[in-house]
């Protein structure tokens, strides 16, 4: 009896999680300008989407930013994860985890001040023109992605027997050899999962991008935000459905590579 009510309550919560997304996808194929009732099947919204120059440019920007930001965050996050496991530094965990734990808006506005009020005049003194754009978005994304990669890599290292590293050292391996031949192959699933995680977080990010992108640089989430605020059409559903498919694929892949990832995120 008790078991049954537990199942029922959970089922309702799972439905609550999935129904809204299902509705978005269904209405992306609806032959009506309104998201109100089902009229007929069409792929017109997808066709419209692929003919939309601004949207394609935004998609391109999003992918470019996510590739560069996740690459840098993976390298720095892996280093941070190894350093935290191996050397137990005091300040580094604070620097790595705080950007993950605090409300995104705080990171966003503090970087906005930093970029425009400090970095811009400082670089101008050297004759370098610097303003908000792709580069600042990448930097902002790396800042909060490092933590996620580091958490996953450190969790992977914590689950391993440290004596393999000692054995490598005893056999005369240099630190670099130990890293390349022993550490890296062992933590690789964690590193890849971290990279996929960073990629998904970057391509989906709205708040931090919103503050660090300036006027000229558009990404997909920024386009979606504008569309929702200005005019809601099923074109939003279509882009949402596509983006959902992409991130879903990446998350499933990441969870295959590192099951402990799910817990690392929380």
């Amino acid at each position: 009896m008790r078991r049954f009510s537990l199942w029922l309550a959970s089922l309702l919560v799972y439905a609550f999680l999935y129904l809204p997304l299902l509705i978005v996808v269904i209405f992306s194929f609806n032959d009506s300008k309104l998201n109100a009732e089902w009229v007929g099947f069409t792929t017109a919204w997808y066709a419209k989407l692929f003919a939309d120059e601004a949207m394609l440019q935004a998609a391109l920007n999003s992918i470019l930013i996510a590739c560069v930001a996740s690459a840098i965050a993976t390298v720095l996050g892996t280093m941070a994860g190894i350093a935290m496991h191996r050397f137990r530094p005091r300040l580094l965990p604070f620097l790595v985890f705080t950007p993950v734990a605090m409300p995104e808006i705080l990171l966003g506005v503090s970087l906005l001040i930093f970029f425009l009020n400090v970095a811009q005049p400082a670089l101008a003194a050297f004759g370098i023109e610097f303003t908000l754009g792709l580069a600042t978005v990448v930097i902002a994304h790396v800042t909060f992605c490092i933590g996620f990669v580091a958490i996953i890599v450190r969790a992977r290292l914590a689950g391993m027997d440290d004596s393999v590293f000692e054995a490598a050292r005893d056999l005369g391996a240099t630190p670099w050899q130990t890293f390349r031949l022993v550490t890296l192959p062992l933590i690789l699933p964690g590193v890849i999962a971290g990279a996929l995680m960073a990629f998904t977080l970057s391509i989906d990010d709205f708040v931090i991008t919103f503050f660090s992108s300036g006027v000229g640089t558009r990404t997909l989430p920024l386009e979606i935000y504008t569309m929702i605020k200005v005019a809601v059409t099923p074109e939003v559903n279509a882009i949402s459905a596509l983006l959902m498919t992409l991130t879903l694929g990446l998350i499933v892949l990441a969870s295959r590579l590192a099951p402990d990832l799910m817990r690392a995120k929380a």
Partner: protein
Amino acid sequence: MRAQSTLRWMVGGPPFVFLVLFFLLPALIMLVASFRFPGDFGGLAPLFGAAPGEEVGLTTESYAVFFSDRVYAEIFAKSFGVAALTTLICLVMAYPVALLIARSPKRNRDLMVLLVVLPFASNFLVRVYAWMIILGPFDLLFSRFAVIVGMVYVHLPFMILPLYTNLEKHDPTLLDAAQDLGAGAWQRFWRVTFPLSLPGVFSGAALVFIPVLGMFAIPEILGGKDDWIVGNMIKESFLGTRDWPFGSMLSLMLTIAVLAVAGGTSWLAARSMKAA
């Protein structure tokens, strides 16, 4: 020993330098910015060497404004109310799911957790937009109710995951013992399972409560006109009125609130761990 510290810097140095430059430094600059004058055209006035007639140096003006008008304290109070209600609803909804997963056979657990995380992988704005479609026809859009629904929907996995991680570790023999001693199902839950799960409850509460405080998109998209919480006020100060010192001051107040919540919940979690 020397080689050891060189190695330490080679591995930990680059992420350390990056985060000092792009996280710690901007945070400290924001702290200083909250004591500066707003610029004539938005942003910040110069610290020194200004044109005649322009204000330079530091001021507590933003803080004076904040404490002189009750409206700001009320928005903070409202934000805490929204965050508390969201956290409570998330807890009630998350508990059965977390409990079911924790008591399922081991081989099913990863899949059930994955099913909780998957919707979470779709874009944040898409998940908010979905509720625009659902609530629109029922005339429930642009209300405080819609804001709470959106907040709960976006943050629910943050409550389920830590709760499950905690419940999974419980020793099932404790419940058997309670049953042998004559405790009913209800008693077993309230006197064994729930008290033991408190550390999970508190860490989940922090993970929901904190991001809700800084949220601006959900009230903006689903909420009533100008029904603001702290996040909206910060956004407006930076991009609307462009009064950066005031926005920085608000951000600092939010940081203090976040630290208080984080400190409070981890203290409660530690205490409940000791009691258990």
